[in-house]
């Protein structure tokens, strides 16, 4: 296995808050990697660093061996790293299909957009295909703002997929979604993984992570604590400490409830 996406020694401080402190993470090509940890342990910040939304104070992010630490989000996306957000973000006032089309041409120059129509036949077909894959093709003509929360999650997944990225970062794909849909999303991820997509998933739903992931990294207070297979992580005493011990009582209750 080769490392596709890697973050090495990342630190990021917001004022006095050490969101990330010398955190490292490797995502192997073709894997489903899980990223777990108590609230505030830096998972989303690490996502933001890896996708160019936040510049780290220290550390290097590489993708296929190329340094992308300082690359902007559009460049990162063009290289083949797609992501979703914890609080689902879609374009509410354009149609579901138009949402898909925004992402279809990830490597196109900006001037090209002026001289071409909104979509080609090929892009429309691809967009409809992916909408069909996640099961919301019948909603294509509706304004995206009229979708339910779960449907928005699916749309966000679909428009990341339509650009055919190599690795997909999912920030809480199962958060706030009913059980049936959670299983459905898990099934889609497995199918895509079989077809060669690499995944990095932040998730609080332990069952979801443990059943899906090849490798799980636990973060605690801005750094990576333990990495291993799901069963190794589950039995690691440090992990139990991080979740159950010291100063994070409020989080813990929520974690236990979710897990």
């Amino acid at each position: 296995m080769t490392t596709l996406l890697s973050a090495q020694g990342i630190s990021k401080h917001f004022g006095g808050v050490k969101a990330l402190e010398l955190c490292s993470l490797d995502v192997q090509k073709g894997s489903i990697t899980g990223l777990i940890g108590p609230n505030g342990s830096g998972k989303t910040t690490l996502f933001n660093v890896m996708t160019g939304y936040v510049k780290p104070d220290v550390g290097v992010v590489t993708f296929n061996g190329e340094d992308i630490t300082r690359a902007r989000p559009d460049k990162v996306f063009a290289l083949g790293i797609g992501r979703t957000f914890q609080l689902t973000r879609i374009f509410a006032r354009i149609s579901v299909l138009e949402n898909m089309l925004v992402a279809t041409q990830r490597e196109e120059g900006w001037l090209r957009g002026l001289t071409r129509s909104m979509s080609s036949k090929h892009e429309l077909d691809a967009a409809m295909e992916w909408l069909d894959f996640v099961g919301i093709a019948r909603l294509a003509k509706l304004p995206a703002g009229s979708l339910s929360y779960g449907q928005r999650k699916l749309l966000e997944l679909a428009y990341v997929l339509v650009a055919d990225p190599d690795v997909i970062l999912l920030d809480e794909p199962a958060g706030g979604v009913n059980l049936t849909l959670i299983n459905e999303i898990g099934e889609k991820i497995r199918m895509l993984n079989k077809s060669g997509k690499t995944f990095l998933i932040v998730e609080h739903n332990m069952e979801f992570v443990m059943s899906l992931c090849d490798s799980v990294t636990v973060m605690h207070q801005g750094t990576n604590l333990v990495t291993g297979t799901p069963s190794e992580v589950r039995s690691n005493p440090q992990v139990l400490d991080a979740y159950l011990g010291g100063g994070e009582e409020e989080d813990t209750i929520e974690e236990v409830a979710n897990g």
Binding site: T51, Y53, R72, P73, D74, V76, F77, A78, R83, F85, R89, I90, F91, A92, R93, I94, E98, L101, V102, A103, Q105, R106, E107, E108, W110, L111, R112, G113, L114, T115, R116, S117, M118, S119, Y159, V160, A163
Partner: protein, 333 residues
């Protein structure tokens, strides 16, 4: 359906072409020209601000740049007051476009309210510059080459050039709406950071849209200056201009193609008409205030969106009535 839509456009164009031969009073023709110029400006403004959500309130900087380009170049070239001066109209647009690039480079770094405030601030820099520099003629403004056309038909050529600018603005706005570029502007309006994360090069896209909209507004300013024959800094770099074109777009339907056209044609013509009819210049402001309150109160998204929603609802209802038995069948199976 599309055919029928095109037919309306053709009909509107025919009426517009014939109008100055129906209205022969020079005062009313002048109203028509100014209405066309403002409608073109608000259509163009909406092409950027309406689609991208970046409400710019400094467009008078581009209008004034166009006007001063017309004034300065025609004077420097010692042009005679002939139709040749119309060639300076696109030049005025070009000057506005070039000015919009550095303005956009600064202003487009910030969003929402901050963007609005920055554009207003930049606009005042332009107005102050026009008042204080020597080459702009200071507060006295500029006198343009006198055009010795007969008063009866003086406005006729201006009318057709203004109409051409409006057609250009509408075509551009419609073209952008259909293009990938337009989709990117809409994506920026809804969630700029998400668009960035989906590969949209947001800054170049915003800057291009901003500069394109300045081009038409600059042409409008240049044509206005040529027709008036005299420009003053406070009338071409006019904060009321910024507010007017924004309000016209909001009135008709912000971010729609038809809205600004409707808003411009209705509001600007009635404003000009009221000003001419009642010598009391502030009466129209009171009427406008009332009108705006009513529109904002009852159709906050503008007239076009209001009507479209009503029509869609009616159509849905009619369809629902028709397909009622089918729905029941589906429910039982």
């Amino acid at each position: 359906m599309l055919q029928k839509k095109n037919l309306w456009w053709v009909l509107a164009l025919v009426i517009a072409l014939l109008l100055p031969h129906i209205i022969t009073n020079p005062a009313y023709r002048q109203i028509a020209v100014i209405t066309l110029i403002f409608t073109a400006c608000t259509t163009s403004w909406n092409m950027f601000s309406g689609y991208s959500g970046y409400v710019a309130l400094g467009s008078a900087a581009f209008y004034g740049t166009g006007a001063y380009t017309m004034g300065l170049v025609s004077n420097h070239l010692h042009m005679m007051g002939t139709g040749d001066m119309f060639w300076l109209v696109p030049l005025g647009g070009l000057a506005a476009l070039l000015v919009a690039i550095p303005v956009g480079l600064i202003a487009l770094r910030v969003r929402r309210h901050t963007f609005v405030v920055i554009t207003i601030a930049i606009f005042f820099v332009f107005q102050l510059a026009a008042i204080n520099f020597n080459f702009t003629g200071g507060t006295g403004g500029l006198t343009l080459p006198y055009i010795p056309w007969q008063i009866q038909n003086y406005h006729l050529p201006f009318y057709y050039v203004a109409l051409a600018i409006l057609v250009f603005a509408i075509a551009l706005s419609a073209g952008v709406r259909r293009s990938r570029f337009g989709l990117q502007l809409l994506a920026i309006r809804d969630d700029e950071d998400r668009a960035l994360g989906l590969g949209v090069k947001v800054f170049p896209v915003k800057l291009t849209g901003f500069a394109m909209s300045a081009f038409t507004i600059g042409m409008g300013g240049a044509l206005y200056a040529m027709m008036q024959g005299q420009i003053y800094p406070q009338f071409v770099f006019d904060p009321i201009f910024d507010i007017t074109i924004a309000l016209m777009a909001f009135f008709g339907g912000f971010g729609t193609l038809l809205g600004p056209i409707l808003g411009g044609l209705v509001l600007e013509s009635s404003q000009q008409y009221l000003t001419v009819t009642f010598s009391n210049g502030s009466l129209y402001l009171i009427l406008f205030g009332v009108l705006f309150l009513l529109v904002i109160l009852f159709m906050p998204q503008g007239i076009v969106v209001f009507i479209r929603d009503r029509m869609e609802k009616r159509r849905d209802r009619l369809e629902a009535d028709k397909s009622e038995p089918a729905v029941l069948q589906g429910a039982s199976s």
